[in-house]
């Protein structure tokens, strides 16, 4: 028998367990999980395969989070408070189109990447306004420093992207870029600046040509 959510929370607090696994629990609102946001010590929170449509701003209280997994939910929006999680390194926002068929667009507003050291960003969905995620310039103006220069892996598979913004070149530490199953017509030449790139997934697009700059990455 799997434990109740309440039990899980208690256990984590008492035994000081840093990793909380609440996947596939039918959770539609994080606030329904009593005491979840008191677990300020946890480093990993897995909420995959649930029914979340939104994330409450209380998320900021879990300030030790390094891994946050929202895979296979229906999240349309992320609160700006996400950006306050200084230690967050892995964020999985992989969400699928709802069964209803309408396109769920996630508009990620004002997500300030700040001083965080991003490791992985996974988005399995049709996401518009995603550029703000790593630009850090959407809401904060040109002075904002984007720290996604540390981002090592970016998974944008199964989306609708037709173009990739040239800002992709700013992710100088990027080692893995997955663009599988998008609608890309072309790749920006800035992709040649990703000198650390080890994996590039571009299958399932509408590419007819590849930028010659890709040749620069051949030795990677």
């Amino acid at each position: 028998m799997s434990k109740s959510l309440k039990k899980l929370v208690e256990e984590s607090r008492e035994k000081n367990q840093p990793e909380v696994d609440m996947s596939d629990r039918g959770i539609s609102n994080m606030l329904d999980v009593n005491g979840l946001f008191t677990l300020s010590h946890i480093t990993q929170l897995v909420l995959s395969h649930n029914k979340l449509t939104t994330v409450p701003p209380n998320i900021a209280e879990l300030k030790n989070l390094e891994v946050l997994n929202f895979f296979n939910n229906q999240i349309e929006e992320l609160p700006t408070q996400i950006s306050s999680l200084q230690k967050l390194k892995h964020l999985n926002l992989g969400n699928f189109v709802s069964a209803g068929g309408s396109v769920v667009k996630i508009t990620v507003l004002g997500l300030n990447c700040g001083a965080r050291a991003w490791c992985q960003l996974t988005v399995y969905s049709w996401v518009a306004g995603l550029w703000d995620v790593w630009n850090g310039s959407g809401r904060d103006g040109p002075g904002a420093r984007s720290s996604t220069a540390t981002l090592r892996a970016l998974y944008l598979s199964d989306n609708d992207f037709e173009i990739l913004p040239p800002d992709i070149g700013k992710l100088t530490k990027l080692q893995i870029l997955s663009l599988r199953d998008n609608d890309l017509i072309s790749l920006p030449k800035e992709i040649g600046e990703l000198t650390q790139l080890k994996e590039l997934h571009i299958q399932g697009n509408r590419l007819t040509v590849l930028p010659p700059e890709l040749g620069k990455l051949a030795d990677g």
């Binding site: 990793e19 696994d21 996947s23 596939d24 990993q44 897995v46 995959s48 395969h49 891994v67 997994n69 895979f71 296979n72 390194k89 892995h90 999985n92 992989g94 699928f96 189109v97 490791c119 996974t122 090592r152 998974y155 598979s157 199964d158 893995i176 997955s178 599988r180 199953d181 080890k198 994996e199 997934h201 299958q203 399932g204």
Partner: protein, 399 residues
């Protein structure tokens, strides 16, 4: 021994007339009675006179005879009656035979020098036999000072330091120099701080004497036992012999791989080379290993930290160098504890069933929860990839 001889040769005048000798006795052939009265004494005197004149006659006659039979000392030829004859100490020469043995010219002012039976004019004699002054390089005529294995004019032989003429005051040898006594004593006092070469006993002026068997020497007294080259202060002693530095280094003294100098002292043997202890360092941080473990890669040595930093597998999840067992899958590496499903973070091992999506592990449970459309698309991609591989293997590549 040669001896200068100054000879004025007497030349017999050409037109000397031999005085006619009238022999008194001869002309008076008929003696008359009246003259018999001459005394016996008178008669003897006149006999004597006659004898003397007779002798003179013969002397002159012999002279002329002798001359007629005379031969030149040099060419052994005879003399013509009126020819000039040179007379030198009883030796007779033709004028043209009485010449310098070197230049075959007549002796200027008749001055000649003789040595080993040969006569030389002054110039050639000096050229051949006279000593040269060591100081000024000119011939020494007259008083010769012999000192320091050389010859000198008295004026030229001076103290090396104060230039005092040494001829009459004496000198002392000092470090290969000829010094007057006062200078020598001064030098001796000054040189007390320096080494004295045990071979030539002169002061070693150079910075570093060559120490051989605990004694100081001038290095240039010795030659390399291997190549014979004259040694310098760099020379090294090895097993009682002296060698120039290059020969010494070649003879199996270990050379440090870092600084290329011979290792005198503790030797570190690593990576097929030898090193000074302080020169065997990490290629990245340059700290000496000092006996700690080093890790080799591509001919370079690294400390543990930097070896892992540069070459160690980095975990895909925690981004740290994997210490301990490595889980290798999907072209990536994980720490054993980090290897987990990418969609639900459940820990995985390589024995568990998982699928690959975008080269990330996805556990079977998560995969099954994914929308059918998605799974179909993934399967399609899988098939496409496999077909492409098969095609690659079948068709030869056209270059």
């Amino acid at each position: 021994m040669a001896f200068p001889g100054r000879v004025h040769p007497s030349v017999i005048p050409e037109n000397e007339e031999v005085p006619q000798m009238a022999l008194n006795g001869v002309h008076q052939t008929n003696g008359n009675e009246d003259e018999r009265a001459v005394s016996k004494l008178q008669r003897r005197q006149s006999d004597v006179k006659v004898y003397k004149e007779f002798c003179d006659f013969y002397a002159k006659f012999n002279m002329a005879n002798a001359l007629a039979n005379a031969t030149c000392e040099r060419c052994r030829g005879g003399f013509a009656p009126a020819e000039k004859i040179v007379n030198s100490n009883g030796e007779l020469y033709h004028e043209q035979c009485f010449v310098c043995a070197q230049c075959f010219q007549q002796f200027p002012e008749g001055l000649f020098y003789e040595f080993e039976g040969r006569k030389y004019c002054e110039h050639d004699f000096q050229m051949l036999f006279a000593p040269c002054c060591h100081q000024c390089g000119e011939f020494i005529i007259g008083r010769v000072i012999k000192a320091m294995n050389n010859s000198w004019h008295p004026e030229c032989f001076r103290c090396d330091l104060c230039q005092e003429v040494l001829a009459d005051i004496g000198f002392v040898k000092n470090a290969g120099r000829h010094l007057c006594r006062p200078c020598h004593n001064r030098e001796k006092a000054r040189g007390l701080g320096k080494y004295i070469c045990q071979k030539c006993h002169a002061i070693i002026d150079e910075q570093q004497p060559l120490i051989f068997k605990n004694d100081p020497y001038h290095p240039d007294h010795f030659n390399c036992a291997n190549c014979g080259k004259e040694l310098t202060a760099d020379a090294r002693e090895l097993k009682g012999e002296l060698y120039c530095l290059p020969c010494h280094d070649k003879m199996g003294v270990p050379i440090c791989g870092a600084c290329r100098r011979p290792i005198e002292g503790r030797v570190v043997n690593a990576m097929g080379k030898q090193w000074h202890v302080e020169h065997f360092v990490c290629a990245k941080c340059e700290k000496p290993f000092l006996g700690h473990r080093h890790y080799e890669r591509k001919g370079l040595a690294y400390c543990e930290t930097h070896y892992n930093q540069l070459f160690g597998d980095v975990c895909f999840h925690c981004n740290r160098v994997i210490e301990g067992d490595v889980v290798s899958a999907l072209n990536k590496a994980w720490c054993v504890n980090c290897f987990a499903c990418s969609t639900c973070n459940t820990k995985l091992t390589l024995k568990d069933k998982f699928v690959e999506i975008d080269l990330k592990p996805v556990c079977k449970h998560c995969y099954e929860k994914m929308p059918e459309e998605f799974k179909r698309r993934l399967a399609k991609r899988e098939r496409e990839a496999k077909d492409k591989d098969k095609q690659k293997k079948k068709k030869p590549v056209c270059l």
